[in-house]
Structures are given as structure tokens and as C-alpha cells.
């Protein structure tokens, strides 16, 4: 039985991205085909400059690809151009970001840093606060909930950032070296946490990492080399299923591409 379409939370078809033109042209991504299903935890590996961050930014709708098609959570969002005017809204509702450095707002305390994302999604300040405290509790940092980011330890700040990434129940969690600033014990704890939360929310995780000690926490490891997916090193345990017909380019789309 083919999995239902909404099960493929991320689907990229022949996505390409380059920076600069002429002599200075850098092909950061070429011909990327990738699918990630809900609940899946994927590690993205590759040497420096291979395009890992660029790929995450494309999936996060922060960087516009040059060509190809991209579906997020069953919705075609890019087909040679953005199909949605309101990308920030899309990010707010569907995507959570976790970075190497926590990126918390320095003027908000831990609770407010999480609550602000909930409020932006249209919930009342009270509801946002409750949700924030609940998440911080879940991530075991609620004892530090009134502290400003500058007073949090690296691990605490990272957990607050994860709480913020999860605040609106995203379907896709993008993490760029989320554990690089942590020691290996904490890194393992944070990864376990991410996994557990993703499973609870039925979200997928795509995480860039260099940290071999946490490889065992991933369902699949994909390698990028010079902007291309290295399918030979694909750690997927099952062969890639064929695209469901729904996602196959229609003749019209193909003509346009």
C-alpha cells in the first residue's frame, strides 16, 4: 500500500540553487530529489561547503531555489517560483528551526521567547504563556523560565530554542548543527528529546550534524557532496518508493519547468 500523500511532509524534485553568476557562480545545490516522511528523523551529512545549510534554508523557505519543485506538508509551495505570497505565515505554522547558536531574543525571558511564537500564530497572550510553560516543563527547563537568555547555560538555551521551534506544532523541524555547542552527553539528551517530541507531534526532523556520537539517533543518514545527494551512501533501510501519481509532474507543469 502506498503511503498517503500527507505522509510525505517534505518532497523536493530536482531542486537547484546557485549563488553568483559567471566566474563567481557557485552551484550550492544541484538536482536534489528528497522526500522525508512524517515522524522520520534524518541526518544530513557532508563536508563543509557541500550545501547542507543551503538545503535547510530552501526547505525552510528562507532561500529561494533557482528551479525545481517543492511540496511541504502536501502543499506545492515552489514550482519555478514561490506559489505562496505569505512564506512567513507558512514558516510560522509548519516549520520549526533549531540552530547551532540558540537565536533566542535577548530581551525576552525563556517563557516569553517561546510564547512570542505562539502569540504570533494568533493565540491569546494567556494561552501562549500556558503553552510555553507546558513546553518548557516538558523540556525540563521550567525552573529557568524567568531567566533571560544571557543567563541560561548552552544546554538550557538550546532546550528553550527547541521549545520555541515546537511551539506551534510544526510538521517539519529543521536543525542546523543543533548539538554543536553542547558536550556529547547533553547532545545525546537534546537529540533524544527532539526525537521524542517529533514522534509525539508526528513531525519530521532534518538535522545537519557532524557529531558521530549521535548518528544512532537517526532513522536515516543522507550525504551531500558538492551540492548533490550521494545516494550510494543513503542509509535508508528500504528502497525509495516511487512517487505517488499525485506528486508526479503533470504534462503542463513539466512544460513550464
Amino acid at each position: 500500500m502506498q503511503p498517503l500523500a500527507p505522509d510525505r511532509v517534505v518532497l523536493l524534485e530536482r531542486i537547484a540553487k546557485h549563488f553568483g553568476e559567471g566566474e563567481a557562480r557557485v552551484n550550492a545545490l544541484s538536482e536534489i530529489d528528497l522526500e522525508v516522511r512524517s515522524g522520520e528523523v534524518v541526518a544530513l551529512l557532508g563536508p563543509s561547503g557541500s550545501g547542507k545549510t543551503t538545503l535547510l534554508n530552501v526547505i525552510g523557505c528562507i532561500v529561494e531555489p533557482a528551479s525545481g519543485r517543492m511540496h511541504l506538508d502536501g502543499e506545492l509551495v515552489y514550482d519555478g517560483r514561490w506559489l505562496r505570497g505569505d512564506l512567513r505565515r507558512l514558516r510560522l505554522e509548519k516549520i520549526g528551526f533549531v540552530f547551532q547558536f540558540h537565536n533566542l531574543l535577548p530581551f525576552l525571558d525563556a517563557t516569553e521567547n517561546v510564547a512570542v511564537a505562539v502569540e504570533l500564530a494568533g493565540h491569546s497572550p494567556d494561552a501562549a504563556r500556558r503553552r510555553a510553560i507546558e513546553l518548557l516543563d516538558h523540556l525540563e527547563v521550567s525552573h529557568r523560565r524567568d531567566a533571560l537568555p544571557a543567563r541560561l547555560s548552552g544546554g538550557e538555551a538550546q532546550r528553550v530554542a527547541i521549545a520555541r521551534a515546537l511551539a506551534n506544532g510544526p510538521r517539519i523541524i529543521l536543525a542546523d548543527e543543533p548539538t554543536a555547542a553542547l558536550d556529547s552527553k547533553r547532545a545525546g539528551i537534546v537529540m533524544d528529546l527532539l526525537r521524542r517530541l517529533a514522534a509525539e507531534q508526528d513531525a519530521c526532523i532534518i538535522a545537519v550534524t557532524h557529531d558521530e556520537k549521535i548518528f544512532d539517533r537517526f532513522d536515516r543518514i543522507i550525504h551531500l557532496r558538492d551540492g548533490r545527494l550521494d545516494s550510494g551512501a543513503n542509509g535508508h533501510d528500504a528502497p525509495q518508493p516511487a512517487l505517488p501519481s499525485r506528486f508526479a509532474p503533470s504534462p503542463k507543469d513539466a512544460a513550464r519547468a
Partner: protein, 377 residues
């Protein structure tokens, strides 16, 4: 949650300091406006003090403030008899250095005839002059108190009454003497000089000279008719009260007024630039936070709100501090500082406008920032 407020709270000390600086700047702007107004008001007080309708002065002059004017005292009688004139009085004006407890005091001496127009009427303390000699009524700003004795020329005068806000266009406080005493002060030669004149056989000059005759008219009389008959019969030049006031504001204080006006305009521009710079740097420092907000999905209106609210808070608090400061120090200025609610309102509007315009600069930078800026380490 209000992000603008949280950010201000996070940097409270610096924000308060910035507001204080802006407050000081706006206080300077406001005092400049006050000094400007004060200059105009001061220029008029001395002409308004006698509460008259027309000024009769030396033919061909526009005295007694804009130009020197001398007329014989007996013309006062003639003016009083003109058709339409209710009352007339002779007045003299001069500046003098008075001596008071060892120091010297610059005063504007006004001579008047007690009981006639030209007398100071709005006493705030003491009594009017009753003796014909050696009493004076002084403006509060001289620093004199009732009972003080002041040396003017060769005589000593006792302060019997006080008035407020009687100054000339240069800001010198007025003292009122009887016409006789003022004439002595203005026209008497010192004894050695008088002896020399007598020795040369010169006729003693008449002391009985005025600088102007001031007149109140009957309610139905027209100043133009009075002016015509005064000119026809006695060859006097006449200025109506309105003409006198226009003359003073237009020609006497005009340059000083323009000077201050220009300075005020420069100060306003400087404040605008300072406000714009402050707001721009405030936004620039937050650019990373703004990128993060965009990254997690904040719409533009949240970001614009953050910047504009902070700009208006800064402007509002700075303006409030400025007004507070000015109202505390304004009475300690050596010259009058006159502030009308209207002036403060106009400045408030200008500050609000500048804040909004300059936050536009910050908003532009903030809207241009790429959310991926938040990703760098």
C-alpha cells in the same frame, strides 16, 4: 506581548539616559522658543504699561523708543485740550546705571506725572508715589525690595512700590520716578559743568522737556483726528498704540528676533538629526533579533510596530522631560521666558513627526534584513 516595551525594559538604563539626553535637547529648544516669545512680549510691555491710545512725539520722529524725541513740557497742556483727548501725561525714558549697596544696577528710568497717564498702575506691592521727590516704583526684576534706597544720579530714592514685568526691549527693568526727578536725572548738568556753562554766559537750558506725551482718548474719538489736529496745531508727530507696537516688534527687536528664530530653527534641525540617529542605531542593534522574528514568522506589522512604538516612547518621554525641565528653570533665566501651551503642542507634533519619519529609516533597514541573517553564528 509588547515587544517594544520588553526591549526597552531590557535596556532600561540606556533608554532612560537617551531619553534624558533628548529631554535636555528639547528643553533647550523650548527655552529658545520661550526666549523668543519673551523678547517680543518684553518689547511691548513698556509701551503697554501706560495703557494709552496715542503717543505724541517730536515732529518727524518715531519716538520715544525707536528714535530720540524731545518736546517742550508745556505741550502736554495743549494736547490735553485737543478735541477727543480724555487725559494726557508727559513721560521721559532713559537708561541709567544706578548704585545699590555698592554694586551698580542697570535700570530703565521712566518719568511720569502722578495722577496722569503714564503712571504705573499695576502695582504688586507697596503704594504709588505720593511725594513729589525721591520716591520710586521699581520692577521686581531689579531685585529691589520695598524700603530699599537706590542712588540715581546725585540723589537717593526710596522704593515705595513694586511692579512686575516692566522692562524695556533690551530687558532692563524699569524704575518709575516723578517727572521732575526724572528730568533732573536726564537733563541736569553736573555742578562743575553747569558752572562752566554759566561762566561762558550761556542761557540755562530749559529742563522742562519731555520725551513724549501720552494720551487716552474718549471712547468715540478717533486717533486719526487727534493725530491730525496735533500735527496741525502743534506740529507734533503722532503714533497710535498699534503703530507704536508694530514699530517696536518690527524694527526694534526684529533683528534679535530673527537671530533667535534662526537659532531655534537650527536647534530643531539638530534635534531631528539626533532623534533620527538614535532611532536608527536602536534599530540597527536589534537587527539580529528582527531577523530572528522574521525567521519564526513574525509579520511586517509586528516589526514596524516594535520600531515605531519605541520611537514614539522615546519622543514622548524625552518631550515630557524637556517640558518638565523648562518649567523648573524658566524663571531663573535673566530675561523673561514666555511659553504658551500652543508652543509646546507644536513642538510635540514636530517631535512626533520626526520620530515617525526617522523610524521610517529604521523600518526600511528592518524590512530589508534577510531572515537568514539570524542563522549566522
Amino acid at each position: 506581548m509588547n515587544l517594544a516595551f520588553r526591549d526597552v525594559r531590557h535596556n532600561l538604563f540606556r533608554f532612560v539616559l537617551t531619553c534624558l539626553g533628548l529631554g535636555l535637547l528639547l528643553a533647550v529648544v523650548l527655552s529658545m522658543v520661550g526666549i523668543y516669545n519673551g523678547l517680543v512680549v518684553d518689547a511691548l510691555t513698556i509701551t503697554r504699561a501706560p495703557r494709552v491710545d496715542v503717543w505724541l512725539v517730536e515732529p518727524g520722529t518715531k519716538g520715544p523708543f525707536a528714535e530720540a524725541s524731545r518736546i517742550p513740557a508745556e505741550l502736554r497742556e495743549a494736547v490735553a485740550r485737543l478735541h477727543g483727548v480724555a487725559a494726557a501725561g508727559g513721560v521721559t525714558y532713559q537708561t541709567a546705571e544706578a548704585e545699590f549697596v555698592g554694586g551698580s544696577l542697570r535700570v530703565y528710568v521712566v518719568g511720569f506725572e502722578p495722577g496722569r497717564p503714564g503712571a504705573p498702575e499695576d502695582l504688586v506691592a507697596g503704594r504709588p508715589i505720593v511725594a513729589s521727590h525721591y520716591e520710586l516704583v521699581a520692577d521686581r526684576r531689579t531685585g529691589l525690595a520695598l524700603g530699599d534706597r537706590l542712588r540715581l544720579g546725585r540723589n537717593r530714592f526710596e522704593v515705595v512700590g513694586l511692579v512686575e514685568n516692566h522692562v524695556n526691549s533690551g530687558g532692563d527693568p524699569a524704575v518709575y520716578l516723578t517727572l521732575r526727578d526724572a528730568q533732573t536725572l536726564q537733563f541736569d548738568l553736573a555742578p562743575p559743568a553747569a558752572r562752566v556753562q554759566r561762566a561762558r554766559g550761556a542761557l540755562p537750558q530749559s529742563q522742562d522737556t519731555l520725551n513724549a506725551v501720552v494720551a487716552r482718548l474718549h471712547p468715540d474719538a478717533s486717533p486719526e483726528d487727534v493725530a491730525r489736529s496735533a500735527h496741525g496745531w502743534k506740529h507734533l508727530s503722532t503714533l497710535t498704540q498699534a503703530e507704536q507696537e508694530t514699530l517696536l516688534t518690527k524694527s526694534v527687536v526684529d533683528r534679535a528676533r530673527r537671530q533667535i528664530g534662526l537659532f531655534m530653527a537650527i536647534l530643531l534641525v539638530v534635534s531631528a538629526v539626533v532623534i533620527a540617529l538614535i532611532l536608527y542605531t536602536m534599530t540597527m542593534e536589534k537587527l539580529r533579533s528582527i531577523a530572528t522574528l522574521k525567521l519564526i514568522g513574525a509579520p511586517d506589522r509586528t516589526i514596524i510596530g516594535l520600531i515605531v512604538q519605541q520611537a514614539l516612547t522615546l519622543g514622548g518621554v524625552g518631550f515630557g522631560l524637556g517640558v518638565l525641565l523648562v518649567s523648573v528653570v524658566k524663571d531663573h533665566f535673566p530675561r523673561r521666558v514666555v511659553l504658551e501651551t500652543e508652543n509646546a503642542l507644536v513642538l510635540a507634533l514636530i517631535v512626533a513627526g520626526v520620530c515617525i519619519l526617522s523610524s521610517g529609516l529604521g523600518v526600511r533597514a528592518a524590512l530589508a534584513v534577510d531572515p537568514s541573517t539570524a542563522l549566522g553564528g
